[in-house]
């Protein structure tokens, strides 16, 4: 379809010196089983285009699902009128000369095609059945999401980019209850690729495994409340990095665009190059090159070519997360992360893949180094202030560590801290054997609101003296 759009784009006319078209075509299929019943399968076919125009420093967009030449021309005309209406009133003077005219392609590395729906349903049924250990298991839910996306970007200056993405997302959740205690364990494996991800996620057998863990949790004591060392496993590091490194470094937040909704940042432009964000063990990158990560791509949605960039090197803050426009506004370097969730939303700064680079500690060495501490995995609760500083996060699973040994399971493990000081307490970073790739499909931000996917890969990490606490008695 993008070839036809390309032809129609070339027939468009505008008085604007610069205009562009961004085309999205997405097919989604959701297959799920709850308890022992197949949920109704749902398919989605979403296709449309956003036309943008720049006139005398003004900028406008118009999104339409009418992809005929006439429909696209009407949208371009509307975008041009918006650009004319906002010239002289824009927070930044949009310049055609700053707009990329990229050419290139990208395609997800997908090795395996999905089997039939029946085969997938059988796979889901096996996990739901396997999770039915006893009557305390009150809910079993298994699902697979299959996503195929085609994105194309054309400019009147000769730019033409085509990118195709595939995501295969298995999910399993088992909930146990006894009296007023309810606990859940889940598997949430979010990567880019084909059906080979099902095997890589260890989905087979997850039903019984998660059920056993949920039953352990309802019988476990509450997490104690005290200062102790905190060992975060990669599936919780994902959330920690996302909320207290990724968002604070987004340039549009620093520039104030998000102050009415998602919030601002404790990071200010003068901090880049001088601010100690974390201990010397901390190295954080924007990395769109790991092919299996959710937000790997060759170009962002404004056509900027994507490459790996260090954001924090040896604990020092060196670069923000901002696309071409934000870089120009802030006078700072940045990253290719101007992204839109769909054809009907404009690109804004989004974090894409933000990773903690592996260190040198094995998991055993990290556990052995802890006299009194706790291991936490799998996020269940997240809350952080609008400057991305004061946070409180909770996990599904906690294990006390006493005198260098993992001793017992605890429920409702939570911790709270302040981003500006928490990362400085990082005292061990796991090696490549502890490194895992995770991500989320559901990062919300922007006005109009957008939910987008982000990837986060990290090793297990130890933080000294964290403020840890448990649930209500």
């Amino acid at each position: 379809m993008s070839s036809e759009i390309s032809v129609r784009f070339r027939s468009l006319r505008s008085s604007a010196p610069f205009w562009s078209l961004r085309y999205h075509d997405e097919r989604r299929e959701s297959l799920a089983m709850r308890q022992d019943t197949i949920e109704p399968p749902s398919l989605s076919f979403d296709r449309g285009a956003m036309l943008t125009a720049i006139v005398d420093g003004g900028y406008g967009y118009c999104a339409t699902s009418d992809l005929s030449a006439a429909g696209l021309q009407a949208a371009l005309d509307r975008a041009t009128r918006w650009a004319e209406a906002t010239r002289g009133k824009s927070v930044v003077r949009y310049e055609p000369s700053q707009m990329d005219a990229p050419r290139g392609e990208y395609q997800s590395a997908a090795l395996a095609e999905p089997p039939s729906r029946s085969a997938i349903h059988d796979m889901l049924a096996a996990e739901c059945t396997g999770a039915k250990l006893d009557d305390r298991i009150v809910e079993r839910f298994a699902a697979v999401g299959l996503y195929d996306q085609e994105r194309a970007y054309f400019t009147n200056t000769g730019g033409e980019v085509r990118q195709r993405f595939r995501f295969t997302v298995p999910y399993m959740r088992v909930t146990a209850n006894q009296g007023t205690v309810t606990q859940a364990r889940s598997l949430d494996y979010e990567q880019q690729g084909g059906f080979e991800l099902i095997e890589r996620s260890r989905f087979a057998g997850s039903g019984a495994r998660l059920a056993e863990e949920a039953l352990l949790l309802i019988a476990a004591p509450n997490c104690p409340s005290e200062k102790m060392d905190l060992l975060l496993m990669p599936d919780q590091m994902m959330l920690q990095v996302h909320e207290s490194v990724g968002h604070p470094l987004e340039l549009d937040r620093i520039l104030g665009d998000e102050r009415n909704y998602a919030g601002t940042s404790f990071v200010t432009p003068d901090m880049f190059g001088t601010y100690r964000y974390g201990s010397e063990l901390l190295n954080v990158t924007f990395d769109p090159t790991r092919r299996e990560q959710l937000a790997s791509f060759a170009f962002d949605d404004d056509g900027s070519p994507a490459e790996k960039v260090f954001l924090i090197r040896n604990g020092l803050l060196v670069a923000p997360l901002g696309g071409r426009l934000s870089q120009s506004r802030a006078g700072l370097p940045g990253t290719a992360n101007s992204r839109a969730c769909a054809w009907n939303r404009p690109p804004i700064d989004r974090m894409a893949n933000i990773n903690v680079e592996p260190g040198t500690s094995t998991l055993d060495a990290m556990v052995s180094s802890i006299r009194r501490g706790i291991l936490m995995r799998t996020n269940v609760s997240w809350s952080i202030d609008d400057s991305r500083n004061k946070f409180q996060f909770g996990c599904e699973w906690g294990e006390l560590i006493e005198e260098g040994r993992r001793t017992r399971v605890v429920k409702n493990p939570n911790y709270r801290g302040v981003s500006a000081t928490f990362w400085r307490s990082l005292r061990a970073v796991g090696d490549a054997t502890t490194f895992e790739v995770h991500g989320t499909l559901y990062c919300g931000k922007g006005e109009p609101n957008q939910v987008i996917h982000c990837g986060h890969a990290a090793p297990a990490c130890v933080f000294a003296g964290a403020d840890v606490f448990g649930g209500a008695e």
């Binding site: 399968p41 406008g60 349903h121 104030g256 609008d386 209500a472």
Partner: protein, 438 residues
């Protein structure tokens, strides 16, 4: 739009085999979006979108497909392709024991025309009325459409012209006053009045800022702040499925715990702005009492939960969340709030709430925007953002001193995927203690 949708549904009905039933839902909008920062335009544009969801039923099996329509002659062909795809899918499925649709057609029509301002006028008036203040916010306006049709002959339509201008004035750093202006008829004078009020409150933020130590404080939660708490409870709190599977944050109420007798929550479709029909064609009752004077009331029961648990559906959507939540008013006059608070925190807004312990009803979140320290009934200082961590059984239980007589209608400004039609109407709440931890 209405004619096109019903005509398309009728054409698709003609393609059905005798064993098939088709449900069609449409969700569409024509919107202007204007984003402001520093009293200038950051991004402005228009979105025209129309999503058709087809749910095909045959021999107790069902599957659905959603497609973006182009408002062109191609739509029928695309819908027929989707229908063919659904027929293939149904052949691979077993019977669905939890399938339930409305088989007694109840057609209806609700349209509300508004007087929306041309977008260029919104830009001019928003920037002009800010009078040089640091305005940041978002205007969304235009027509929202929701429709339902099934092959049993039911036809429902909901069409409203609305706008929602959700904005803040910033003083410096994270110090701001947040408010909003939403409705059906744009009125420049009303906007100017709201901006003037916000401007007065902004002046209070110039007072020397105070940092409050963690601990327990008497507090007043303005309606917008209470809305965040009630909204969090709505994440499974009123759902029949969550109740049956013991995942409700109100689980302890299922076991006998109660809130203050001052607390009554109602799903009040009759007085909200959301459609009265849902995806399976069921009509929603005018009112469902969710919490009745502190005791657990009826849950919201989707058709699927109704079949699974042997309950009667009350027309809830699949998410079993309230669309038009109404919190009963109290007796505290708005003008008495500061004197009744005496000494403590006046909290205009909360932010980023979540559960510290869901099953126990323990919640956490941050203060945001204008929060003030009050002494002897007088605002004396803005305070820095603070984190609270509190049980709802204290907050809305024995710590609840009173609710205001006046209530605010808070339309949901969110635009995830589409502009929302949900809203809440609620009072402010005075509590004797709220626990702050960070």
């Amino acid at each position: 739009m209405k004619g096109q949708f019903f005509s398309l549904a009728a054409r698709l009905d003609q393609d059905l085999a005798s064993s098939e039933t088709l449900l069609c839902n449409v969700s569409a909008e024509r919107s202007d979006f204007i984003r402001f920062n520093k009293a200038l335009v950051r991004q402005a544009g228009s979105v025209s979108q129309c999503y058709l969801t087809l749910r095909l039923l045959s021999n107790r099996r069902q599957a659905s497909a959603t497609l973006a329509l182009a408002a062109s002659d191609d739509d029928l062909a695309h819908a027929r392709e989707a229908l063919a795809s659904l027929r293939t899918t149904l052949r691979e499925l077993p019977e669905d024991p939890w399938l339930l649709i409305n088989e007694n057609p109840q057609s209806g029509d609700a349209e509300r025309r508004g007087k929306l301002a041309p977008s260029a006028q919104v830009v001019e008036e928003a920037i002009g009325t800010a009078h040089g203040r640091d305005l940041v916010g978002f205007y969304a306006g235009g027509t929202i459409y929701r429709g339902f049709a099934n092959s049993l002959g039911q036809r429902n339509w909901h069409e409203i012209d609305t706008f929602n201008f959700d904005w803040s004035f910033y003083r410096q750093g994270d110090q701001a006053v947040k408010t909003g202006y939403a409705g059906f008829d744009w009125d420049a004078a009303a906007l100017a009045g709201k901006m003037a009020q916000a401007g007065e409150r902004l002046e209070l933020l110039a007072l020397p800022r105070r940092t409050i130590e963690p601990g327990e404080y008497r507090a007043y939660l303005a309606p917008a702040a209470l809305n965040d708490i009630v909204g969090l409870l709505g994440w499974g709190g009123f759902s029949a499925r969550a109740r049956q599977t013991k995942q409700s944050p109100l689980l302890r109420m299922q076991e006998g715990a109660t809130l203050s007798p001052r607390i009554t929550f109602t799903e009040n479709i009759a007085e909200g702005i959301a459609p009265a029909f849902q995806g399976e064609g069921f009509m929603k009752p005018p009112r469902v009492v969710l919490i009745d004077r502190g005791e657990l009331g009826e849950p919201l029961v989707s058709p699927r939960s109704a079949k699974e648990y042997g309950l009667a559906t009350n027309g809830a959507g699949g998410g079993e969340a309230a669309d038009s939540l109404d919190v009963a008013a109290g007796t505290l006059g708005e003008e008495e709030v500061l004197s009744a608070l005496d000494t403590g925190l006046y909290i205009s807004n909360l932010w980023y709430l979540n559960f510290s312990d869901r099953a126990a009803g323990r919640i956490t979140g941050m203060t945001r925007f204008a929060t003030f320290w009050v002494e002897r009934g007088r605002i004396v200082a803005p305070v820095t953002p603070m984190r609270f961590d509190e049980s709802i059984y204290r907050l809305l239980g024995d710590a609840l001193v009173g609710l205001t007589r006046e209530r605010e209608l808070v339309p949901d400004p969110s635009t995830y995927g589409e502009r929302q039609t949900s809203s809440a109407r609620l009072p402010g709440a005075l509590v004797s203690r709220l626990r702050f931890t960070l």
